[in-house]
Structures are given as C-alpha cells and as structure tokens.
Symmetry: C2
Subunit: 217 residues, 2 copies
Amino acid sequence: MSADSKPPTKYGVVLFPGFQSLGVFGPCDLLATHSRFNALSIVMLSSTLDPVPSNLLPADGCGQRVVPTHTFDNAPDDIEVLIVPGGPGTRDDDAIAPAMAYVKKVFPKLRYLLTVCTGSALVAKTGLLDGKRATTNKKSFKWATCQGLEVNWVLEARWVTDGNIWTSSGISAGIDMTLAFMAAVYGEGAAQSVADHSEYRRDTDAGDDPFAQFAGA
Amino acid sequence: MSADSKPPTKYGVVLFPGFQSLGVFGPCDLLATHSRFNALSIVMLSSTLDPVPSNLLPADGCGQRVVPTHTFDNAPDDIEVLIVPGGPGTRDDDAIAPAMAYVKKVFPKLRYLLTVCTGSALVAKTGLLDGKRATTNKKSFKWATCQGLEVNWVLEARWVTDGNIWTSSGISAGIDMTLAFMAAVYGEGAAQSVADHSEYRRDTDAGDDPFAQFAGA
C-alpha cells in the first residue's frame, strides 16, 4: 500500500476574522468523534496566534474567539486535508488575504481541499476553482459566484466534488459533506457511526438541495 | 408589556475542559444568525479566562480552544438564558465542579436553562432536575441517567421541555432544540428564517428520535 492510499489523518482548518463557527465546528466535531477510534490531528491556522473571532465580531455581542495552533507561516508541512470555512469575513478582502495566499501556496501539496459555505468564494478568488465544478451558500449565491467567473458553479447541490476538491453549500451542509468525505476515505460504516454518535440525520444525496430555491432571493 | 414578557436577548454558555464543540457552536451559530436581525449577546463563561479545550484535549490532536469572555465569578448578573453543553468532560467531576456550582447558584435568576447532550447529566448532578422531565445523549443514556436518579428521564425524545428547562438529546439535537426554543420565544418565522440561512433541515417533532435505539448499546 503506498503512503497516498492510506486514509488521511492530518487536517488543517483555515481561520480568519468573521468565520462561521458552525462551518468550522460541524466538521471538526465529527472528526473529533471519529478520532476516538482512529487518531486524527487537526491544526487551526491563522495569520497570527491571536484568538480569531467567529461570525459577527465580539463587539457585536455574538462572536466567539478560537485560538489558532499555528500561523500560516509556520503551519505543519504535512497537512493532508485543508478545510476552508465561510462566513461574513469572506466578504472582507483584507481579512481573508492571508488565508487566500496560504490556500493558494499549499494546495499543490494537499491531498484534499474541503470548503464549507462561502469558503468556496474565498478559494474561487485564488483561481484554484477555475474550470472546476463547485457549490456555495445559497442565500449568498449571487455574490459568491461573482467571486469566480470561471468556476462551473452548481446551484442545486448539497455538496459537489471535482477531483480532490469538495465544496459544500451553506453552513450546515458542511456536516453532510464531511460525513460523505469520511465515507469516501474511511468507509461508510465509519461515517454512519460518527453520525449515530452525533445523533445527526444525514443527507446522503449530494444533489438533494431544498435550499437552492433561495439563490435568487 | 412587562420586562419578562419580552423575548430574551442575553445568553450565557458554560464552558469546561472537554466540552463538545458542536454542542456549543450549533446553538451559538444559530443565535448569531438571528442576531443579524435582532441583537443578542452571548457571553462565554468558565472558571478562568484561559482558553478552554473542546472535546478530546489538544494533546490528543483534535481539540480546539475557545476563549471565555467572563469567569463564573464575574459573570454578568443579567444573563437570561444559560446554555450547558455536554461532552466527554462531563464525566470528569473535577473538570465540571466550577460549572456545576455556577449553574446551581445562577439558576433561580435565569429565565431559561438549556442543555445539550450530556449537559443534562451535569445539571442533574446539581439536583436541579429532580422531579423534572429531561433527556440526554442516547449512546451515553445509561451513564447519564445514573447522574440523576430522581430525574424523570425521557428515552425517546429529540428534546424535552419542563417549565423553563429545555434539555436535548445528543450533540446535533441541540440544533433542533435551539430552533424550537427560538420558535417559542421569537416566533416560528424567525426560527425558520435562521434554519433557512443555515441551510438546516429542521426536525420539528420533539418526540421523533431515531437514536433512542442506541440507548441500550
């Protein structure tokens, strides 16, 4: 078995001010549950080691602050799977510039790139999605799709895979995408076990998207 | 309209080492989304202001660290809704002792107490659930229900309400409970709007619990 045929165990998550917390902690919590049986590592990356505010800023009363484990500059060089969340911060070019630069630099070394919600808009702005199929948040579909005019955006999808890039629709769609990803790399039994532990009713059909109706709203 | 008839806006979340991240950030993210239209505040409480590790400890490679905004000793005295998450830390009496003492002390001043997953086991150990109906994580049902022998534990429930106490089943059930709580205090339209923004397919039936089958496992 070649090294690359082993399932991945080393994850990284990109944080930036205004990330969507459920877009990070949906996937991270599922991976932590799987890790009880199959040890994984998850590093949290940002431009500095300062705590990173989620969602609305703490000044607005509803953000939480998460502590990075590494900066983009000193990130481990053996990350296999990178997760890019969305959130209001993706609309702030200054806030996401370091994350964009890191994603663009590290992508060739990754085995998989996963995005949640408008995380695909952030990645689209780097050009990495050009010519590829991808999806994104549906309430923000017009804005997000304008961030990558050469991307083949898929409107009606809970998540989309194109090669080693997985993109999900808005916020909680990241949970279903992560479970589908786990099924692909660890097996269906492992994914269902995590869903059962998390008491989560999976949506296992990537094309079943009742929220596509909101894309024009 | 009396002050108490206004919907609550001031939330607090109890953090302890080994809290379950999705049990915190499911509810918090929904509240943050609602807050775009109706300003809410969420304070994050712990025994000290040191970052609090979620899930497995960071030493195990999968925990994330969240920064509290206040300690239990200097928590705002006007918190209306307290959220108590579950997680592996609820099995560590030393880890949860400060949280238990705070919950017991503050409960008489709260308008609502919400628990997710084994957060109800933590609260049960304080005696506050004695004689009340409550639910908890299903894979941990045997252990959790032994933490409160005088509690009327409900096996088959996505969530349970008894007076001003709302308890949910495991991990992701906190999302459905929070949306049901939002429907109760902010109206059904507000709750559905948040679910739509979050692209989350709600389970709106508190009694529909496919995970009850795991309670004996």
